[in-house]
Amino acid sequence: MLAVLIILPLLGALTTWLIPSDRLRPVALSAFALGHLGTTIQLLICTPAESPGGWFHLDALGKIVLLSTTVLFMFCAIYSIGYLAYRVERSNRVFCSSLLICLAAASTVTITHHLGLMWVALETTTISMTPLIYFKRNARSIEATWKYLLICSVGVALALIGLYFLAYATIVAHVEPSLLLDDLLSDAGKLSSGWVHAAFVFLLVGFGTKMGLAPLHTWKPDAYGESPGMVGAMLAGGLVNLAFLALLRVYQLCMATKEIAFFQNALVAMGLISMIFAAIFMARQADFKRMLAYSSVEHVGIMAVALGLGGKAVFGALFHIMANSLTKGVLFLSSGNIHRSYNSKKTDHVRGAIRRLPWSGSIFLAGFIAITGSPPFAPFISEFTIVSSAFIQGRYIVASLFLVSLGIIFIGMALTVLPMVMGDPPSDSETTLYKDTLWTVGPPLSLLLLIFLLGVWIPAPLMDILSEGASLLEVKQ
């Protein structure tokens, strides 16, 4: 059953590659996305046992990431029907196929317990996203693609050497050499601390680069800024979570080796640095897609801080995976619409979006309110959990820095977003073909409703999964 999660998108990739019509392909993409979502839900309801050999196991952490990825993917796919209708000038064959390959790889990351395989799948997602970033085929997008590819590749390569260190540590410790998570967890106590430490550092830097923790985030603004809105959504809401899942696995290992304190502190430090960086870069941002990229840096920072804090904050981190990816979907999809309508992503040109695009503009504004942690949206729940946990643990400095950077980020983002959406559109702005339609507005709107719903009510089954995930990451003294 788990295999379906991988095979179905691969099949989809093949199908979309074979479909000749540009118009039909996004529909097929959506169909496969729906199928994937259905399979996921089916798997969440009755989860299969661990596969023989322990290579595949859908545990609670995987479920959270899988669910948020597939939901976001589904809405992005539906959005692509409307979006690609505006980009008829070029074939979307590679676009659709790459997306589905990426989905297959992403599913693999979430269900595997073999760290090596996880790494392979993660690198596959990196590579499969490359053509998507280059979708616009201009000088800027090639530059972004180049930076994305090289920096992420180097980062992920460092993660690979981290994994090698880990594997070597098992050899040195004379236990069964393995990169299976469960084996490592059970043997963790015996591993040599020197190698393990080195491994953790390399893994943190490697996956941190992929995730975009500052100062390893440098590819993010370029890649998010130059790729189409829905690709940005997938990058910020999907790929980031996969890297975070990888970090969660490392975290599990750290707990088992009792070397958690260093890793936690490093996470808190890098998380806070990311938030502060994001705060600095978001103020007076002239390009709203780059602003969203920095917002993504901020939110991976939040997740890192939460994970580093431990305790109840871990629950917040897990919920934030979901909240962040869905909210990023809202923001990137609606910003994509605004971009299409104004044919510019400069905040100087985009004015009065609510007047010009009542739906997209309002959704974008609501998304901004949501992402900055205002109730009644889901990110509020996670962010508040994290802050309160920090205070309860008595880590006042961390909590204050956290709040201060949230405050600066809000100011910076408000000063960028509010002029964009409020007021009257400039009279001299370019007229474009774009109009809000059900296909382009429906997906972000649905995502918005979803984060609203999660902001006021977390369904019991989801709550169970989250609590189970949090218990997996509970530091036992």
């Binding site: 790494w119 490359t130 280059y134 930076k147 590819l149 180097v154 050899i171 040195v172 190698w195 800024g225």
Partner: protein, 213 residues
């Protein structure tokens, strides 16, 4: 056999310095190709024979020895460049840094506990030193091609370490990892060609329009 492997690793280290010290791109490309071929042969020396192994080795030899060098030289020709004109850091300092990093690598490896049978060989330091050499090339060179070369060297460093792990890594995963790295390099080659078409140059200092004002 493993002793021969050790000798070959010394060669790999020397190639690092060659790449660090040369300004002619075509020379670097060939040097890295040679490095790739040497590394491709190494598994045969330390692992027992299997058909998987043959497959992997031939894959490595074909991609690292032939495909990637060809792609890079084509990009080089189409962009009409021959040498790395003005690196961010001169060749002599780069070489010196390379030497320092190599020394550090030996120090780093000495600090970590080794398996007894690996104790006398230079796998770990060679891996680290190659990694660092790759890093140096990535950070000091201006041309996109040089950066790909840097990435290749970095990847070779990782590969050396992977040789120690024959038992831990299932061959499938090992192959998958390798494939990914190769595909990555391959895609980079494609992107390089796009860059040279778009900018008529492979100078990455041109690729700085995406920044904060």
């Amino acid at each position: 056999m493993i002793t021969i492997a050790d000798q070959l690793l010394v060669l790999v280290l020397l190639i690092n310095f060659v790449v660090l010290g040369t300004s002619r791109l075509i020379f670097s490309i060939r040097a890295v190709a040679v490095q790739g071929v040497i590394l491709g042969v190494l598994p045969a020396l330390i692992h027992p024979f299997s058909w998987h192994l043959v497959g992997i080795i031939s894959m490595i030899l074909v991609t690292k020895g032939v495909v990637i060098p060809m792609m890079l030289s084509r990009a080089m020709r189409s962009a009409e460049i021959k040498r790395e004109a003005e690196p961010y850091l001169g060749y002599v300092p780069t070489l010196l840094l390379g030497a320092v990093f190599t020394a550090l690598s030996f120090g780093f490896a000495g600090k970590l506990p080794m398996l007894a049978e690996h104790q006398n060989y230079i796998f770990v330091p060679a891996s680290m030193a190659t990694l660092m050499a790759g890093f140096l090339i990535l950070t000091t060179r201006r041309k996109a091609i040089s950066q790909v070369i840097g990435y290749l060297v970095l990847e070779n460093g990782i590969f050396i370490f992977g040789l120690l792990l024959a038992d831990a890594m299932p061959i499938m995963v090992e192959a998958g990892a390798l494939l990914d790295l190769l595909v990555g390099t391959f895609v980079m080659g494609i992107v390089i060609n796009y860059i040279s078409r778009e900018f008529a140059s492979l100078d990455t200092s041109r690729l700085t329009s995406l920044k904060e004002e």
